[in-house]
Every structure is written in C-alpha cells, then in structure tokens.
C-alpha cells in the first residue's frame, strides 16, 4: 500500500469520509488493479450516527474503483449486496488500529476478524450470494478501508 499521511481532516461517519477513500482508490489504481476487479455494493450502517440516528451509506464498487457513494435509507437496503452494521466506537477502534499499523490493521481489527462472530460488526444480507460477495472481494474492501491511515478522522459526537 502506498498511501501517505496527508493533512486532510474528515468527519466520520460522512459521505465525504468514504468519498475520500474512493479518491485514494483512484489514486492507487495500479495497486487495486493488482488485487483484481471488485463489483459489489457495500452498505455501512452506523447505529449511533449524527444526531443519534442510524446512518446508512452505500459504496458502489465497480471494477477497480468506486462508482458512487450515496446516503441511503432503510428502504434502499435491498440494493446492497451486504450490510456492515455496528456503532461508531467500533469503527474508531478499527481505524485507530489501521493508523497505528500505518495502513495495516492489527490482528484483532481486520474486517473479517470483526465480522466473523457476528459482533462487534454484523455482516448480513438479504441474499446469501450477496453476503458471499463480502468474502469474494474481502482483500479489496480491506485495502479500501486501510487508506483511512492517509488522513485524520474526526470522531464527531452522536
């Protein structure tokens, strides 16, 4: 991974936070090409989003980049191949671990590690084939999130 720390500061959770990761993915196209194409729609749900409400966004991965990042509501859930849902604190712990590892999470903070037991992150889908997409593209999605080490995240209060 070739991401370097910048002086950008972005709040989490926000569309901008995921758009910045999408921008990094585009900047590191060669690296993501080497991991292979990734075609799926991932939804991130944060139980305690801004204002204490549930916050949902969908990241649409297409080939070697992100086609769109969009704010969605509960009714849009079926458009997602899989949904990763948890609280802000879990994301903060995960991102802190990635930052500490300079772009690589510690053993206890990979996406698979955090989702495997169903807690602290729940990965679920309306369709078992959709959930399998989380496994099929896991390395790409992990490296996508790993770029959170390239900027500062502001952890806003709910």
């Amino acid at each position: 991974m070739g991401g370097v720390m910048t002086d950008e500061i972005v709040a989490f959770p926000s569309i901008e936070w995921f758009e910045l990761l999408a921008q990094r993915m585009a900047e590191q196209r060669d690296h993501f090409v080497s991991l292979g194409s990734c075609d799926c729609t991932a939804q991130v749900t944060i139980w305690d989003g801004p204002g204490g409400d549930e916050w949902r966004c969908q990241v649409v991965f297409e080939e070697f980049g992100v086609e769109s990042v969009r704010l969605v509501s509960e009714e849009d859930e079926e458009a997602a191949d899989f949904i990763l849902e948890t609280d802000r604190e879990t994301w903060q712990e995960m991102v802190d671990s990635i930052v500490e590892g300079e772009g690589r999470p510690g053993l206890l903070h990979t996406l698979n590690r955090l989702t495997m037991p169903g807690t602290p992150i729940r990965c679920w889908s309306h369709d078992p084939l959709g959930r399998d997409a989380f496994f099929r593209f896991n390395q790409t999605i992990q490296h996508f999130i790993n770029n959170s080490a390239t900027f500062t995240t502001e952890w806003s209060e709910g």
């Binding site: 991991l35 292979g36 075609d39 698979n112 084939l129 896991n138 390395q139």
Partner: protein
C-alpha cells in the same frame, strides 16, 4: 496416386506391451480403433491428398453461408468479456441440449459438417442444466483477475511461531487443508473433459477453480513447513468425505456436495482461520483463500438452482437430490466430527492447549454457522433441506 502416400496399411504394428504403466487404452487397442475409423478419416485424407496432387484450391472456408459474419461484438469498459460476446443471439444462445460432441466451436459454420465430425464418446455431459449457473461468466472474469501467487503475495519472512502448541495446531490445520484442496481440484478435473465444449464457459470457470485449488494446496503445504513445524496427520474420516465427493454420480450432485456443502464449510474455516490468526502471514493466507473459495461456493449455489429449475421432472430431480444429500451430509458429518480437524481449531480458538475447553465453545459457534449458511444456500438454490438436514444444527459436544 500421389507421391504423398496414404499408407496406413504399411505402418508397422505396435510392439506388445506388458508393462504396468497407467494407460487409458493399450497402444494395440488404440491403433486398432483408428484403423476401424479409417473409412471416415481415411476418406478425408485421400480427398485432401488428391486435391494437393491436382494443385487445386478448395476455399470452402471462405463461404459465409450459415456463419454469423458481421455480428457486432462490442467490448465493455473492462475489455471484451464473455458477457459482452454472449449479448449477441448468434454467440450467446446456450443450447439446453447439444448434439455436438466434438470440438466445433459454438457459433461456427458447423451444421454442414455434422456427419463428418468425429464423436468424442467421453463428452457425455450434453445438457446445460448439469453445468450452467447464471453467475458463470461473471465468476470466470473475476477469477482471472483475482488470481494471486503464494510464492510472492504472502509476507513469509514475517512468520514467527508463537508457541509450539499453537504452531502444531496451525500445522495440523494446514495438513488437513492440503488434503482437502486435492479433491477440490480433482473433482472438477474429473468432469471438465466430459462436458461438451458447447458449455465452454463452464469448462473455463472450472479450470479457474482447479487453478485456485492448486494454489490453496500449495500455500497450505508451504504454511505447514514455513514456521519450522511439519505436515502432521492426514484424517481418515475426512478422506471418506473426499472420496464421496470425488465419486459423486453426477456433476450437479458432486458440485452440490463439494461447492455448496464442502466448500461452504471450508469457507467458514478460512474465515475462522483469519479470525484466529496469530500472525499477519496467516491472516493474508486465509483472506486470499477465502476470496477464491467464495467464488466456488457462489457457483455451486446457482449451479444447483440451474439444475433444479430446468429438470424436466422436478419431483423426481428433487427426490434424487434429497436421497443424495442424505448420505452426502452424513459423510461430511463424519469429516467434521474428526478430532484432527476440530481439535486444532479449538486450540487456536482457546489460544493454546490449556484452554482447549474454551476453544470448543468457539468451535460450537463455527458449527452452527456452517450448518445455517449451508441451509441458506440450499434455500437460495430452491433446495429446502431445513426439515431434512441430517447434520445437527448444534455442535454435538457434551459439556
């Protein structure tokens, strides 16, 4: 007669061979067979020799009658994929049943040659429902671009065993996975050559599965040795399950047992392996294998659906699949109750042999996940095993 002789009769007879090398047929039988077919291919040879002798051209290959000449096949943003090619009716019509048991490409000018083309007896999988899945083309493209290399993509130099019991557990798990990966490659190998080439998308995808399994076998063999440990014990119980997979009566049945149940189970073990990893080396191995395995499971799920949707007598097809699943689940149960598989997982879960009891609780969670995800995939394929499943939903461990 030409100077180029059509001279099969003057060929010497093969020597009789009494050695025990593995053969498909004896040389004598092979030669005899091709002499018997001589009426057919000898006539073609003679015609060709005569033409050359006359110095004349045939140019039949320039006849576009019956061809799909001019059909536009346009690449998409990612290049020219099978999905792009198959968008045209000319090339994308997949026959429900094919009469072509030879190598003539689907979409070529082949009808007029039907009487002259040889029949490959081994091409006996001639119906789409036995091999097709609606995600085949997507998975094939994905498989090609998501290959990795166990030699260079794993940070082997970072591997430092944590303790002897944990390393033994990692080595035993690697030994077991090496065993499993053999069958996951050999099962498709057993069928690829039987699938009629009209279903080349399926043949091609299965070749990627074989490549994936070769890499998995390679990476787990390397993992067993790389930490200074060893390949440990094979599992007779698991090998009975592998044998049952390999010898499945039909491609769909074997794909169900291997890709849906077996690889669904292995996918959960890979996820657990990543979860339990004590080193980044193991994390990387399991995460990369997980991706490949999920493709195989996805193919298996929709292949089963394709069969059940298209079977002419659905009731009979379902009854047959259930009868097969009844025994299939039992052999898989024989495998997953084996201490050579469960105990290393429990040691890794418990963070050492001293806490193997705690580890068994983790194994109990894995068990429930494996069974539930299997049942969900069966549901997705239109194969309801919920009332019939012979693998207990809960881990049968007395505490």
């Amino acid at each position: 007669m030409t100077a180029i002789e059509n001279n099969i009769d003057s060929l010497p007879a093969p020597p009789l061979d009494g050695s025990a090398i593995p053969i498909a047929v004896s040389t004598e039988e092979y030669v005899d067979r091709y002499r018997k077919f001589y009426d057919q291919w000898g006539e073609l040879l003679q015609t060709n020799l005569d033409r050359l002798d006359r110095g004349s051209y045939h140019l039949g290959w320039m006849d576009k009658e019956g061809s799909n000449w001019g059909t536009q096949v346009k690449p998409s943003s990612r290049g020219l994929t099978y999905s792009d090619m198959n968008r045209s009716k000319a090339y994308g019509t997949i026959p429900e049943k094919t009469e072509f048991r030879n190598f003539a490409p689907r979409g070529s000018v082949r009808d007029r040659y039907a009487d002259q083309l040889p029949t490959i007896e081994e091409y006996d999988v001639v119906e789409k429902m036995h091999v097709w899945a609606d995600n085949l083309e997507t998975l094939y493209e994905e498989a090609k671009v998501r290959q990795w290399n166990s030699t260079t993509d794993i940070p082997w130099t970072e591997l430092e065993p944590v303790s002897e019991d944990l390393e033994m557990a990692a080595c035993q798990l690697s030994t077991f996975l090496t065993e499993v990966e053999f069958v996951a490659g050999d099962f498709p190998a057993r069928w690829i050559y039987r699938i009629a080439p009209d279903y080349f998308e399926a043949k091609n995808f299965l070749v990627t599965q074989m490549m994936d399994e070769a890499r998995h076998m390679e990476v787990f063999r390397k993992r067993a040795l790389a930490g200074g440990g060893a390949l440990l014990h094979p599992s007779p119980a698991f090998e009975w399950a592998l044998k049952a997979i390999l010898e499945s009566p039909t491609h769909t049945q074997g794909t169900f047992l291997l890709n849906v149940l077996g690889e669904g189970l292995v996918l959960t073990i890979f996820r657990a392996g990543e979860f339990l990893s004590k080193t980044h080396v193991d994390k990387e191995i399991f995460r990369l294998c997980m991706q490949d395995e999920a493709r195989h499971v996805s193919y298996g799920t929709l292949e089963l659906k394709s069969f059940l949707d298209a079977a002419p007598n659905q009731e009979a097809a379902l009854a047959d699949m259930h009868a097969f699943a009844d025994i299939g689940e039992q052999v898989i149960l024989t495998a997953i109750t084996d201490p050579y598989v469960l105990e290393p997982l429990a040691v890794l879960m418990g963070d050492g042999i001293d806490d193997i009891d705690d580890g068994m609780e983790g194994v109990s969670f894995l068990w429930a996940t494996i069974v539930e995800e299997y049942l969900q995939r069966c549901d997705r394929a239109g194969f309801d095993r919920r009332e019939k499943c012979t693998i207990p939903a809960e881990f049968p461990w007395a505490v």
